[in-house]
Symmetry: D2
Subunit: 144 residues, 4 copies
């Protein structure tokens, strides 16, 4: 069994990354607020920036054929964002397992810091070509 | 307290609606399968068809200013859909509360009936203009 | 120079395909009608169905590594579609060149046959892996 | 007939606004590059930033019930953007008419300044509630 080096694990678990996104017209729907599916774009960007903040741009991983499919997702919607709002996505890792990693995202409105949505998202690490799942701890050790 | 008429409740809880959707190119991403956010479009359509199957097209409700914001969402992804696949969304109601209704959606691949995603989705009933939440049981009694 | 067999060309130019699409909530934006970018999804589906109507499902081409990037696009918007509307996309080919093919799409509202948008769209045929453009006439001759 | 004050017109026609956008995973499709419809999101943001650069945030106009529907759109695609790329949208006005205004957008890749897409886009000014089109010159004079 792969044991992740404690120092690395601790470091990754302590990272808290923040990204700012401006709501586009096409993020909204006929309710005049962001459609509920588009919050997934927001924290997907949060994930991307988090991974880049650990060490490498996640784009490099993707270009080298490693992807991060979502396995499970829980989201609670508290308030709505509207066109022109600035959104803050705060991202941290809750858990690093062998087969998955669990992210926590808070989606906030920048102007008043109101919580818009709370997300827990489990991701895998997969080699795109072979569809083989990788050991997450191993991947992260090499990644950072 | 509003008690929903038992006959109506029973009838709504027994409805199981099914809708078929063809995966578009722009539903996919660089992993060559449907991006995880687009499954939300799929079961959103399942919701729309379910509401219409109960009695009235949900579009009429929307046109008369009633909308159904998502409060909470849990989704587990099992397998992927790709461009050209036909997707089946099976929808039923799990629970009708005063303040919310909980939907269960199964997203299946049509060709082999494989489960792609399992969804539990809590929705509210809201008057769009006033942002006032409506009593769900009351709304449904009037709706059917 | 590749000369396309006249019979095949004539046949392809005479095909007129029609596909029906139901407008989703997330196709709309804060104007309560379909966002202008989503008409591109509609005629992209028209293209897919057209190619399948000629002979083979376009999905087979895509799976075998052939894709159809858009080179140029002109669209004129006449009227709007709203949530729940059924949209008809009529597709035919205007021109088959060596390096491109030009499609005409009419996007209509099903209920009253109103023209929503008029599209002229130039597409290439490309081998995805090598990014090499293929001779279109040659490709179509083999394709049908 | 409304004549736009020459000084104002000159000023607006001389504005050139630039906005930077990072490509998201869900902007891409199975070709591993940005789907052709998503370039419309990019220059839609360019439009929003341009209008804000003239004077007022376009969001204020939208909140006060003024919207800017697209009437006509021409786009030529030159090169592709991929996940993680930074995109630059350069926007200026080509023409201000009574009934419409014509925008030019250049969509560039930030890293090498390569032209990805060239856009000409005609927009109207509309009062959302009444669907009444406004005189563009008049609107802009008041707007700046």
């Amino acid at each position: 069994m792969m044991i992740m080096e404690e120092g690395i694990k601790k470091r990754i678990l302590s990272v808290k990354d923040t990204v700012k996104i401006k709501v586009r017209v096409d993020d909204t729907d006929l309710m005049s607020v962001v459609h509920f599916k588009n919050y997934l774009s927001f924290f997907d960007m949060g994930f991307v920036e988090f991974m880049s903040a650990i060490e490498n741009p996640v784009e490099s991983a993707v270009q080298s054929g490693i992807v991060f499919p979502v396995k499970k997702l829980e989201i609670t919607y508290e308030e709505s964002a509207k066109f022109g709002d600035h959104i803050i996505v705060e991202t941290k890792i809750k858990e690093i397992g062998e087969k998955s990693m669990t992210f926590l995202h808070k989606i906030l409105r920048d102007s008043d810091n109101a919580l818009l949505a709370d997300v827990e998202c489990v991701r895998l690490v997969m080699e795109l070509k072979s569809k083989k799942l990788l050991n997450v701890a191993k991947f992260l050790t090499k990644y950072v």
